[in-house]
């Protein structure tokens, strides 16, 4: 099942990052090998970022979300690895941040990154309800890019306390104008969530669940497709199973969310 691409993924870990193993599993199933690397091993030079083509900041609770989710880990990256990261971004490489990873990317300014100064321009504020929200959400692609190719929708969990996308009006306009919104929260029938809870689980501006950088090579995404790789991981699988069974159809093994990881891997397979 695994396709032999030369490109390898670097999956960041340490300080409370916690989704590195399932992220590696998802990439492996999509055909890409990866190394889980503790940030301190990168800082110490035991591993080198330039040996990789994909850098992933997975989900987690780095530093317990203290001083703002993703902020302290982003500071550690900026204070210790910044030149390596900038060099990586200049190459033909991809960066993916999921949940806490998206929060880290936002604090690093890797998204939206209108220019190469990487100021912070978007924020993932505390959820409107003020507490962590763990539930399945439906996502609809809002742009046609390497990340969203061929995806009609994703159905996967959010699980975060701070995913409330926010930015200035100008930034939002520019993000939308330049087709940088990758995914939006929507209703079950794929119509817009319109900010309504629980379809939009956190109050995110314009239902934004994921954005790319201006050059399209960096994606930050709040929900977790890696947590629902299989059909049986989906919230509604029991009734879908019952329906398929009565229609005499076989049960799928994978979920629709694997398409997302295939897209990432296919980028390196050209």
């Amino acid at each position: 099942m695994a396709r032999a691409y030369n490109a390898r993924a670097l999956i960041m870990s340490g300080y409370g990052i916690n989704s590195e193993m399932e992220t590696a599993e998802a990439l492996m199933r999509a055909g890409m090998a990866s190394d889980i690397v503790h940030i301190n091993d990168l800082i110490a030079g035991e591993k080198t970022l330039s040996d990789y083509r994909l850098m992933v900041f997975p989900g987690g609770f780095s530093y317990g979300d203290d001083t703002g989710a993703g902020n302290a880990y982003a500071n550690r990256v900026r204070n210790n690895l910044w030149s390596d990261v900038k060099e990586f971004l200049a190459g033909d490489n991809l960066v993916l941040g999921i949940c806490n990873g998206f929060q880290i990317l936002a604090n690093l300014g890797l998204v939206p990154a209108f220019d190469r100064d990487y100021p912070r321009e978007i924020a993932l504020m505390p959820n409107r309800k003020g507490v962590l929200e763990c539930r399945f959400v439906t996502l609809k692609p809002a742009a046609d890019n390497l990340w969203t190719k061929g995806i009609s929708h994703l159905y996967c969990p959010v699980s975060h306390g701070e995913g409330n996308f926010s930015c200035s009006e100008e930034t939002l306009k520019r993000i939308e104008r330049e087709n940088m919104v990758a995914f939006r929260y929507c209703r079950d029938d794929l119509s817009p969530a319109g900010g309504e809870y629980p379809y939009n689980p956190n109050g995110a501006l314009a239902d934004i669940a994921g954005v790319t950088s201006a050059d399209g090579k960096v994606l930050g995404l709040m929900p977790h497709p890696e947590r629902a790789m299989e059909f049986v991981n989906l919230y509604d699988w029991p009734i879908q199973k019952e329906r398929l069974k009565r229609e005499g159809k076989p049960l799928p093994t994978e979920s629709m969310n694997m398409r997302f990881f295939r897209n990432v891997v296919d980028y390196f397979g050209r």
Partner: protein, 981 residues
């Protein structure tokens, strides 16, 4: 002492949580217009100051310019009426402060030294006209005096200067040494040492209870007489820890009456497991039972799964947040400390609390001093504790429950459990076995040692001194634990860098090191090497401190360099504190002197034996005598709103139950989102198997019939798993007894009856116990508002947790009704068994017959259910428990957002039939096409009640309509009680 102090305040420009936060406090009765929140970091340094420019850089690092602004040494300006700042007391774990400190260190490339720190606090800016009383209540709602410091300023007082910069450093003065304790004393004086503690020569005060009784103190005195010397305080404190009820479980270990000479544990719990294992022979599922920090069963050929459930009751009564947080991260360590280290993969919670809508006037002191926390405060606190602990640790928390009863007001019960997974072997060696060898180094890993948790949750006089560290309660630091959990379970274990590991829980190093010393045959500890949070601790305090987030490992000399190097790279503090030996002694040195030298045999087995006596409780209760209403609509809605039946979904969505990617059947199910009694989680990627978890708990049956109470708990726990498709022969059990007044013969009789029930249930179902824990004195002794003494004891509570392996999760069945036209069955027999039921509780009646169980019949039924589920002819299944058949039918319908049309059989009063809590029953829905196959399997045991369809839930008895309710109205009722949480 810090010379330079700066205050950085961070505030959202537009706080998204403002409306929710304000609304929450308004709903608690505070007339607020708005409640703003400012994060404050107080930076205290001694050796260098920061320039204004550097402080701005720090402000930028600690905030997000897109949505926040910060100020340095300048009060936040906002329109408000008063300011309340809540910070921590000295010595309380301050995670946000620590993160801020690390960020500053990283940015400037220097290290904070002794007497330098960053302290976090939260500044609430209150808009609203609060009376002084209201303000005091608000302050009490925002802060806990045991862990928090609070400063309040009016707008006028605040103007211009803001709040003071407070630096809660710990100041301890004298360097402490070990002393000796004279035990050659009259019994009365000796007993006082046991009850109140050693008289501290420095302060002239007692150090807090040792909880040693006279017989135990005599045994200790005689031991040291033989040695020809007096015990040191280190030795006495250490023996008190090792011999505590918490560690030695004397009540379960002691002989009882004439029929239980070997004690309840050996006779009922261990014997049940031994019997089951023997009978199952080659099909035995147990790998490790009772001996390690968790129990373990076979998962598949390559993996085993572990499970352990703990309680953290006393700490949670005082500080619900800290108590529950340390409860969950503590039981995580029972996983990391199982064998050579299992990976925590599922968390379990359970809360027994008072009714959160009540505020009983109970006080720990006379004259209304030291009030208990109100039930809602406790409930919300423990919910948040497991939220922070579980979520930050990256462990899914799908499985749990809440139970509300007025007798939990004085002492809540907080259950926390963890499932772990590990390969069965590595390099051909079993991973569940461990052995420290003589010469191995003793290494302490994780957090530093402070005065936390010394003498458990007792109020020490020191807590009144403003510069003394808090000792009664502890706040956990899940990230420190996550760091060492990752490096141990994901790296060091597989590099074979250590030979044994255990967790530091109750009794701290004194218990963990002495326990591991059994493996090698002795230990030699150098207490000066133990890293401390602050200087000035006495050796006995270092030895028994319960500071959180620590493991003790045995590392072979030749691996120590590699081990320490790996820990350093992961920024995990690790310290060699001694060596395991084969001298047969536990030796501890401090300051070059031997402060403890006790034989391991005496330490572990010198405890004098007891013989407990019980006295039967003759409980007779009349059968209830109330008329059955003609229509049951109102009853249905009222029952759905009962706190023990209604939705507590706000907990399920706050607890991450999807991390690690194994979610199959989660805590809420169906389009209508109903909380399920059992969950199913994949723990090995690529495997078709999954871990099922369920639980059973019926404290309302205990006073009526403790034996049947135990059977009910076992049956509910097992039945929950069977309903999702977990076969009976893969299921193992865990027992948690939370009893009260266990020095009273009547309570001990109830305990014995419950333990006998545990034996019979487990043996007849052939489900072994793999681990258990007991907590025997869950009593509150205090005063009412008029200073009259009051004792509130929890109802005798037994939690049975079940863990089983689902062979193929794609065949698992959820609880929600699926499609219109599906048939609705109840499988199993309903008797007139309303004793202890939710229905009688609703009517305010205590009495009636507690449900009994014919296990032989149930077992056959459960095996048939597994067969039917495997064949794919069950569309949904749900075990009827609290609230009986009607609650079960309603939940299945609400979950499917589907109506039902049902007719109940005659021959029994409709309310009795619908609310009886008879055991062994399932509500099942079946596709019409599978009717024949289904009925062939169950025969007369399956009773067809009607079908799924429409949007109305209709129940009739013959021609008579009992209930006709829109499903929507039922869903609203089911979700109403905790809607505002």
């Amino acid at each position: 002492m810090a010379s330079y102090v700066h205050r950085i305040e961070v505030q959202y420009s537009r706080d998204p949580r403002l409306p929710t936060r304000t609304e929450r406090f308004r709903s608690l009765g505070f007339p607020l217009r708005e409640l703003h929140l400012v994060d404050v970091y107080t930076i205290a340094t001694a050796r260098r100051d920061f320039s204004p420019e550097e402080l701005s850089q720090i402000g930028a690092q600690l905030s997000n310019p897109v949505v926040q602004r910060y100020s340095v040494d300048r009060p936040t300006e906002a329109g408000f009426d008063c300011a309340i700042e809540v910070g921590f007391l000295p010595g309380v774990t301050d995670n946000a402060g620590t993160t801020a400190k690390q960020t500053i260190e990283d940015y400037f490339g220097f290290r904070f030294g002794e007497g330098e720190a960053v302290f976090s606090s939260q500044l609430y800016l209150v808009c609203g006209d609060l009376t002084p009383e209201s303000l005091e209540r608000l302050t009490a709602a925002l802060a806990n005096p045991l862990v928090n410091r609070v400063h309040v300023r009016s707008r006028e007082e605040y103007a211009g200067k803001g709040m003071d910069a407070v630096t809660p450093f710990v100041h301890l003065h004298d360097l402490q040494a070990a002393g000796t304790v004279d035990l050659d004393l009259p019994d009365a004086e000796l007993a006082r040492i046991g009850k109140e503690g050693i008289l501290d020569p420095g302060t002239g005060e007692r150090r807090g209870p040792l909880a040693l009784d006279l017989a135990q103190l005599h045994a200790i005195r005689d031991y040291f007489r033989k040695l020809g010397r007096k015990p040191t305080d280190v030795e006495l404190e250490s023996l008190a820890q090792t011999w505590s009820e918490h560690c030695k479980h004397t009540i379960f270990a002691s002989a009882m009456d004439d029929d239980v000479p070997r004690g309840l544990y050996k006779t009922c719990i261990q014997a049940a497991t031994n019997t089951v294992r023997k009978e199952k022979g080659d099909d035995d599922i147990c790998v490790s039972v009772f001996t390690d920090n968790s129990g373990a069963i076979v998962f598949d050929d390559e993996h085993l799964v572990t499970c352990k459930v703990e309680t953290h009751n006393s700490p949670s009564a005082l500080d619900p947040f800290g108590g529950a947080l340390t409860g969950i991260v503590g039981v995580n360590r029972d996983t990391i400390g199982f064998g050579l280290g299992a990976k925590p993969c599922i968390n379990i919670y359970g809360y027994c609390v008072g009714d959160p809508d009540t505020e009983p006037a109970l006080f720990r002191g006379k004259n209304r001093e030291n009030p208990i926390l109100p039930p809602r405060r406790i409930f919300e606190g423990v919910v948040r504790g497991v939220d922070v602990g579980g979520n930050c640790s990256g462990i899914p928390t799908p499985q749990g429950w809440c139970c509300f009863h007025d007798r939990y007001v004085g002492k809540p019960l907080v259950f926390a459990g963890t499932v772990g997974v590990m390969p069965r072997t590595r390099n051909g060696k079993p991973l569940h076995e461990k052995q420290a060898l003589p010469g191995d180094l003793i290494v302490m890993v994780g957090g530093r040692v402070g005065k936390d948790g010394i003498h458990g949750a007792t109020f020490s006089s020191e807590a009144l001194d403003p510069a003394s560290p808090v000792t009664a309660v502890q706040i956990g630091d899940p990230i420190t634990q996550k760091k060492f959990s990752d490096v141990i379970v994901k790296e060091a274990r597989d590099l074979d860098l250590y030979r044994s590991i255990t967790d530091n829980g109750a009794g701290g190093l004194s218990c963990s090191v002495a326990e591991m010393a059994k493996e090698s045959g002795g230990c030699h500890v150098l207490l000066d090497r133990v890293p401390l949070k602050y200087p000035g601790m006495a050796p006995w305090e270092i030895w028994i401190s319960e500071s959180q987030e620590r493991m003790t490992l045995a590392v072979p000399e030749e691996k120590i360099e590699a081990f320490m190097n790996l820990m350093k790279r992961r920024e995990v503090e690790a310290t060699v504190i001694g060596e395991f030996t084969d001298t047969g002694r536990c030796v501890v040195e401090y300051g070059g002197e031997t402060v403890m030298d006790v034989g391991l045999d005496f330490l572990h087995d010198g405890l004098p034996k007891k013989h407990l006596r019980t006295k039967p409780v003759e409980a007779t209760y009349p059968e209830p005598d109330v008329p059955c209403p003609d229509r049951l609509d109102d009853l249905l809605l009222a029952m759905l709103k009962r706190k023990n039946i209604c939705s507590k979904e706000f907990i399920s969505t706050r607890y991450d139950h999807t991390v690690q990617g194994g979610h199959v059947l989660g805590p809420v199910q169906g389009a209508g989102r109903v909380q399920a009694p059992a969950t199913l989680t994949k723990v090995v990627p690529g495997s078709m198997k999954g871990v099922g978890l369920s639980q059973g708990l019926f404290p309302s049956y205990s006073e009526l019939d403790p034996y049947r109470m135990a059977l009910a708990a076992i049956d509910a726990a097992i039945r929950g798993l069977v309903a999702i498709g977990v076969p009976l022969d893969t299921i193992a059990l865990l027992d948690n007894f939370c009893w009260c007044s266990s020095d009273e013969p009547a309570r001990l009789w109830q305990l014995k009856r419950a333990a006998f029930g545990c034996y019979d249930g487990a043996v007849e179902f052939a489900t072994p116990y793999i681990s258990g824990k007991d907590s025997m004195f869950n009593d509150f002794s205090g005063f009412d508002a008029d200073s009259n003494p009051v004792k509130v004891s929890v109802p005798p509570t037994l939690l049975i947790t079940s863990i089983g392996v689902h062979p193929d999760v794609t065949t698992a069945v959820s609880m929600d009704a699926k499609f219109d036209g599906d048939l609705v069955y109840v499988v199993g027999e309903t008797g007139e068994e309303l004793g202890g039921s939710e229905y009688l509780a609703h009517l305010g009646i205590e009495g009636g017959a507690v449900p009994s169980l014919d296990i032989e019949t149930a077992k056959v039924r459960y095996e048939k259910m597994t067969d039917a589920i495997t064949k794919g002819i069950v569309a949904s299944a749900f075990p009827a428990t609290h609230g009986g058949l009607l609650a079960a039918l309603a939940k299945v319908a609400i979950a499917g957002r589907a109506g039902m049309d049902l007719t109940i059989p005659g021959g029994m009063r409709p309310d009795t039939y619908l609310f009886s809590e008879s055991l062994g029953r399932f509500v099942v829905t079946v596709a019409p096409g599978d009717r024949k196959a289904f009925e062939e399997i169950f025969g007369g045991d399956a009773h067809l009640l009607g079908s799924v369809g429409g949007e109305t839930f209709r129940v009739s008895a013959g021609e008579r309509t009992l209930i006709e309710q829109p499903i929507k109205a039922m869903e609203t009722a089911y979700k109403a009680p905790f809607g505002g949480y």
